[in-house]
Structures are given as structure tokens and as C-alpha cells.
Symmetry: C2
Subunit: 228 residues, 2 copies
């Protein structure tokens, strides 16, 4: 009460100020693309001086990396949190909802919901990275590895619970994880083209396509090409 | 015989000279990345003067676009050619090899073989594009749409031959195509990490994961999450 906006701004701690800056930067990078985005615009929209942006995050690249890391962490946390919550609920009431496929489904749903709700974050993570610089490419690769490891672990758990455990290796689980993560990535384009479709519907379709197939293959149903 | 290298070079027609330039450029872009690649190096390795590179392809961006378009055309042609050949063979001997899943398998195999054999082309197509410029991003998106349309058509054909035709729409086929293309994209990373694995093995695994699952779902086997 009675504070001028400026006086209020002065008392915002650095950590919080940084987060505000990143919020704005994610929007601007998503809208304009990395090269066209300007630190001037980001500073102005965040109500922060340009020198302060440089003081906090060093450079435009540093700002982009901060965006990338925060959004990647949030995405991994959303996936992991949903999968973990499904496991706990399953264990609580013995309904079987803690089974690997239930955790995988919960994780996929959290992923598609994240993409639907945080479109700007997804544009920054998905569209604008690989060639910008080696540092940025490395940060993207690391985020992808983190998600991949989560998915591979659930696939492995699923395989272990199946009858055919002996036939499948860690490499198999990694294969399925790559296929699933790639499919999920690509389906975000399908979602963008079909705005009426819910994250729930997308997650369920993908589970049906992949998990049912994997289950059948584990049970011994194998497709082979005709010999030519 | 008796020609100096320079005299021979002068008689190379423009079209052919351009292709040589693109061959070299694909290698250099794949090795160094777009920003670090220099037109000087490309001109030198191609044995062409730098002004001539600019005369033919206008700019570094023009050169990259020419690489992108040629390799994308080759990739689409490899997929399409293999799928078409499988269809023709199937029609010839009545063995059923012309069925949609056989064509899809042949196309996927051609894709993974392309990626295994033409690593540089794949790096340029897959890793170095989205954020470089709007023109380049548009060219990549167009190449991706071309592959997606091919796959969606095979999926649609597969659905039409199944008993459940009435239940599935064009949107469903497009969903499966996005999942398949995304999975295939992502599996090229798995291939890079598992160099002993053949394109044949990768194509077969993916068919088993996705096609068997889709077949089962078409037959009415549906996975649903437990109600919470």
C-alpha cells in the first residue's frame, strides 16, 4: 500500500527477478525465434534494465539457456511426478494402477498436457535449439536424455513384469523408449493441427498403439516380412 | 588423355558442377554445422572458385537449401521407391507382398538404410534446420510433410483392408503416421548408439511394435486406464 511500482520492484529478490525475466524471455523466444528475439524487448517487457539482464544471465545465449533448462526441468518433473503419483495411488489401494503401463500412461498424459498448456515452453524446447550453438545443443541433448531415461525405466519395469523377460535386454527397452519419445515429440505437431483433441485422447491413443503392440510381441506374436 | 585438370573442369556442365558442390557442402555442413561451415572451405574442397559458388547458389543459405532439398528428395524417393517396388512384386506373384504393411516395412527399411549409409545427409536434414531461417524451416517442414503423406497413405490403405474400416478416420491414419515418423526419427539416435544393429533389424522391430499393436487395436483390443 502506498509503494510506487518502482519501490516495490526494488525489493524483489534476485531469484524471483530472474524467474520473471525467464517468463518473459520464453514468450519472446517462442514468438520471434532466437535470432530475431532482442534482449531489449525482453528487458522492456520484464520491466528490467538491459544491463541487469546481462548482469544476471550474461548474454542472449545465457538467457536462452536459462529458459531451456527451466522448461526442460519442468517437463521432466511433470512426467516424473505424474508417473510417481500413479505408482503411489496404485500401491495404496491395490487397484494395479501402480503397474508400469499405468505409470507410463500417466507420464505421457502429463507430457501432452504440458505441451498443450505451455505452448511457448514447448516451442523453445522443441523447435529452437539444435544448431544454435554447441552449448545449447548439449543442453537440449541432456534434457532429452533425462526424459528418455525415465521412459526406458518404465519400459524395463514393464518388460520385467511380463512373461518373456528373459528374451529382452536393456537395449530393447532403450529401443522402445526411443520410439515412444520420438512418437510423442512428433504427435505434438498432430495436436497442433487438431486443436480439438485433448491431451487425454492423445496419450490414450499412443498407449494403445505402442503398449498393446509391445504386449503382443512379448507374448510371442511376431510380424515377419514374406521371404522374397 | 593429356587434358590438364583445369581444362577438364571447364567442360563440366553447370548441372553436374552444382551436384559436386552440393556433395561437398553436405559433408562440410554435417561436419562443422551451419554457422561454422565456410563457403571458402566448400569452394576449395569442390575445386570451384568462391565467386562461382555464389553465382550458382547465391549465398551460404542458398547452398544449404540446395543440400536440404536434394537430400530430402533422395530420402522421399528411397522410401517411395522401396514401397512401390514391394507393391509391384506383391502384385506379380500373388504372394501378398503388395499388402500395405509390406510396403510400409519396405519403406521403413529404405529409410533406415538411407540414414545408415548417408550419415552426413541425415545430419543436415535432421539436426540442422529449424531455427536457421524461415526459408530453411519451411523447406524442412515441406520435406517432412512429403514423408508424412507417404506414410499416412500406407496406414490408410492398411486400415481400409482391415475389418474395422468404418471406425477409423483420416485423422486416425494421420495420427499413426505422425507416431511412426517420429519414432523412426528418434530411432536414428538409437542406431547411432548401437552401431552393430542393422537397418533391417531396426525396421523389423519398429514394424512389430507399431503394426502389431495397430492390428490388435483394429480388432478391438483396447487398453484403458483404471478409473481413479
Amino acid at each position: 500500500m502506498g509503494d510506487t511500482p518502482q519501490a516495490r520492484r526494488r525489493r524483489v529478490p534476485r531469484k524471483e527477478r530472474e524467474q520473471q525475466m525467464i517468463d518473459v524471455a520464453v514468450q519472446v523466444f517462442a514468438k520471434r525465434g532466437y535470432h530475431a528475439a532482442s534482449v531489449d524487448e525482453i528487458a522492456e517487457l520484464a520491466g528490467i534494465s538491459k544491463p541487469m539482464v546481462y548482469l544476471y544471465l550474461d548474454s542472449k545465449e545465457g538467457l536462452f539457456l536459462a529458459c531451456l533448462r527451466r522448461e526442460a526441468d519442468r517437463l521432466v518433473a511433470a512426467f516424473q511426478g505424474a508417473a510417481r503419483e500413479a505408482a503411489v495411488r496404485g500401491a495404496d489401494d491395490g487397484s494395479g494402477r501402480g503397474a508400469p503401463e499405468v505409470r507410463l500412461h500417466a507420464g505421457l498424459l502429463a507430457f501432452f498436457a504440458f505441451v498443450a498448456e505451455r505452448r511457448d515452453s514447448w516451442v523453445v524446447l522443441h523447435r529452437q535449439a539444435s544448431e544454435l550453438s554447441e552449448t545449447i545443443a548439449a543442453a537440449v541433448a541432456e534434457a532429452r536424455r533425462a526424459v528418455m531415461a525415465q521412459v526406458a525405466e518404465l519400459v524395463r519395469a514393464g518388460i520385467e513384469e511380463s512373461a518373456a523377460a528373459a528374451q529382452l535386454t536393456e537395449r530393447d527397452a532403450d529401443f522402445v523408449a526411443h520410439a515412444l519419445v520420438g512418437a510423442a515429440d512428433s504427435l505434438t505437431d498432430w495436436m497442433a493441427r487438431n486443436p480439438g483433441q485433448s491431451p487425454e485422447g492423445v496419450a490414450l491413443r499412443l498407449m494403445n498403439m505402442v503398449w498393446v503392440g509391445m504386449g503382443r510381441v512379448l507374448e510371442g506374436e511376431v510380424w515377419v516380412p514374406a521371404r522374397g
